[in-house]
């Protein structure tokens, strides 16, 4: 089954087509890679899929439900979609701990004013922060973390969205926009294992990445975009051997 599908999706920025009639499917429980030259529309695709940009035309289908003309950002958590950003976006003026705790926040105003976080919340925070090696840094402001730590905190934040006890927001679709870019090998290792774990847990992962070795290692399926269009798709090894794919990358 497809976790998300797009049909004839278009996204134009004042006339320029960043996504140009894209019909792709992301299979449930699989890691799908998205590659393509700079400016080919990968980030724009993630922005549309995560409700941060309304599509100009076309539809998307989530979990085989009815067709939707885009998604509102406020509904993505409800649909189990979560993401990271190419340019990391954290709650800068909050501590590492609070960046995660806020994901687990009670959603009723009354409860959130007068109730405390329960032991389950605290356990969850410790688990996800330990997972990415940031538990020791928990009382630092996110703003003061290093570049790599910032990327790891974003990973921890999406992990916190699994099995949250509120509004059924158990994330099942993970969009990673170049999570490895600029990281040291040890940090890459952590994120690689996180993605593998998500897959084992039956989650759907969409991974934008430029490093073809990582793509080969992690992805079940690969989509190649060029100028907002689908250039090729299939098994990673197979796709990456195609002449037009190599040309798209080298001919830039």
């Amino acid at each position: 089954m497809d976790a998300i599908r797009t049909k004839e999706l278009h996204k134009h920025f004042s006339g320029v087509a960043a996504i140009d009639g894209l019909s792709v499917a992301f299979e449930q429980g699989k890691v799908t890679g998205v590659v393509g030259p700079n400016g080919s529309g990968k980030t724009t695709l993630v922005n549309v899929l995560s409700g941060m940009l309304p599509p100009t035309a076309g539809v998307m289908v989530i979990g085989g439900e009815r067709e939707m003309k885009g998604l509102r950002a406020s509904d993505t958590a409800y649909h189990g979609i979560t993401r990271t950003f190419q340019e990391v976006r954290l709650f800068e003026q909050m501590t590492v701990l609070d960046n995660i705790l806020v994901v687990l926040t009670e959603r009723s105003v009354w409860g959130s004013l007068f109730e405390r976080h329960n032991a389950g919340h605290m356990k969850k925070v410790e688990t996800v922060l330990t997972r990415v090696g940031l538990w020791e840094k928990r009382s630092q402001l996110a703003h003061n973390l290093s570049y790599g730590q910032r990327k790891l905190l974003e990973i921890a934040r999406v992990l916190a969205m699994t099995h949250s006890d509120h509004i059924g927001q158990d994330a099942s679709i993970f969009l990673f926009d170049e999570p490895f870019a600029g990281l040291f090998p040890e940090m890459i290792k952590v994120i690689v294992s996180v993605i593998k774990e998500l897959k084992e847990a039956g989650k759907t992962v969409i991974l934008i990445e430029h490093n073809m070795n990582l793509i080969r290692e992690l992805c079940d399926h690969l989509i190649v975009m060029d100028s907002g269009k689908l250039l090729a798709e299939g098994k990673p090894d197979h796709v990456l051997a195609k002449r037009e794919v190599i040309e798209a990358y080298l001919g830039e």
């Binding site: 950002a73 003026q93 705790l101 009670e106 105003v109």
Partner: protein, 288 residues
């Protein structure tokens, strides 16, 4: 020499009033990132709601105050839902927000003037219940003592709320990045609605206090708003303790200025301070 303690007392009272306005204004600003000029109108709404319940209906003073404060909060909440939320959905520019909120301020002040006339009204009862305290040579009335206590209590409660509660954490997240807050499942519209409620309720409280201290006029909203905004800016927009410090700095500058020069200088001094800060320290006393 005997006049100095009195000027200090007056400065503190003025500072406390400005602080209450600036705190509510700042709370809304840091969450929604727009200068909500309609905030001034909520002082008028609170003050006149109190006038209606307490003076016209003759209710008990505490019941009237609670209801008037809640009413001001509710009006703020409705303004957000009916107008500002719609503008947010349409991704309106800062200018649109500014003009819309200025328009609301004008309209609300006009409605109040129609309902209650533009005449000056006071909430205080014929002087009898107004007790007077002498502290270190300065005289303050009971009302003024209450104003000061309210200022401190509101700052303490807001700080506690923002630092210690889950709700506060969500407010901070929305302040930091509204879009990402939505993505992680925070109901940002609900949070912003309640922020408007709380901020407006505080404005309503300040309107009531001003009504007891000096009196009510439909146009006082604009005046109080300006002082609150100046206090917020010189304190460092968006920081709660900054708003508080800025308000007292403004209160002291105005009252000592009036003493040195004359009463007409009061507003001029406020704007001179604003301009000095905008030129030399635009980020305010506490930079963020």
């Amino acid at each position: 020499m005997g006049i100095i303690p009195q000027i200090i007392a007056n400065s503190i009272i003025a500072g406390a009033i400005y602080a209450l306005i600036a705190l509510g204004f700042n709370l809304i600003y840091r969450t929604t990132k727009f200068f909500n000029l309609a905030h001034g109108a909520l002082t008028v709404v609170g003050g006149y709601a109190m006038f209606f319940l307490y003076k016209e209906l003759g209710w008990n003073v505490y019941a009237s105050a609670v209801l008037a404060i809640v009413f001001a909060g509710f009006v703020g909440y409705i303004l957000d839902k009916a107008i500002f939320r719609q503008l947010r959905l349409r991704k309106a520019s800062q200018m649109v927000f500014l003009v819309a909120s200025l328009g609301l301020l004008t309209v609300i002040q006009a409605i109040i003037a129609i309902l209650f006339t533009s005449q000056f009204q006071t909430l205080a009862n014929n002087s009898t219940e107004s007790r007077v305290y002498t502290i270190a040579g300065g005289i303050i009335t009971q009302t003024q003592a209450i104003i000061l206590i309210c200022g401190i209590v509101v700052l303490a409660l807001l700080t506690l709320m923002l630092k210690k509660t889950m709700f506060g954490r969500a407010v901070n997240a929305v302040s930091d990045d509204e879009e990402v807050s939505k993505m992680v499942g925070i109901h940002t519209d609900k949070i912003i609605g309640w922020v408007f409620f709380i901020g407006s309720a505080i404005a309503g409280l300040s309107g009531i206090l001003v009504g007891f201290d000096t009196g009510l006029e439909p146009t006082m909203g604009m005046h109080l708003l300006l002082k609150g905004v100046i206090a917020a800016i010189i304190g460092g927009v968006g920081t709660m303790h900054g708003a508080f410090a800025g308000a007292f700095l403004l209160g002291f500058a105005e009252n000592f200025g009036v003493w040195q020069f004359s009463g007409e200088w009061k507003d001029a001094i406020a704007f001179i301070i604003l301009i000095i800060f905008l030129l030399f320290r635009p980020q305010g006393i506490f930079k963020k």
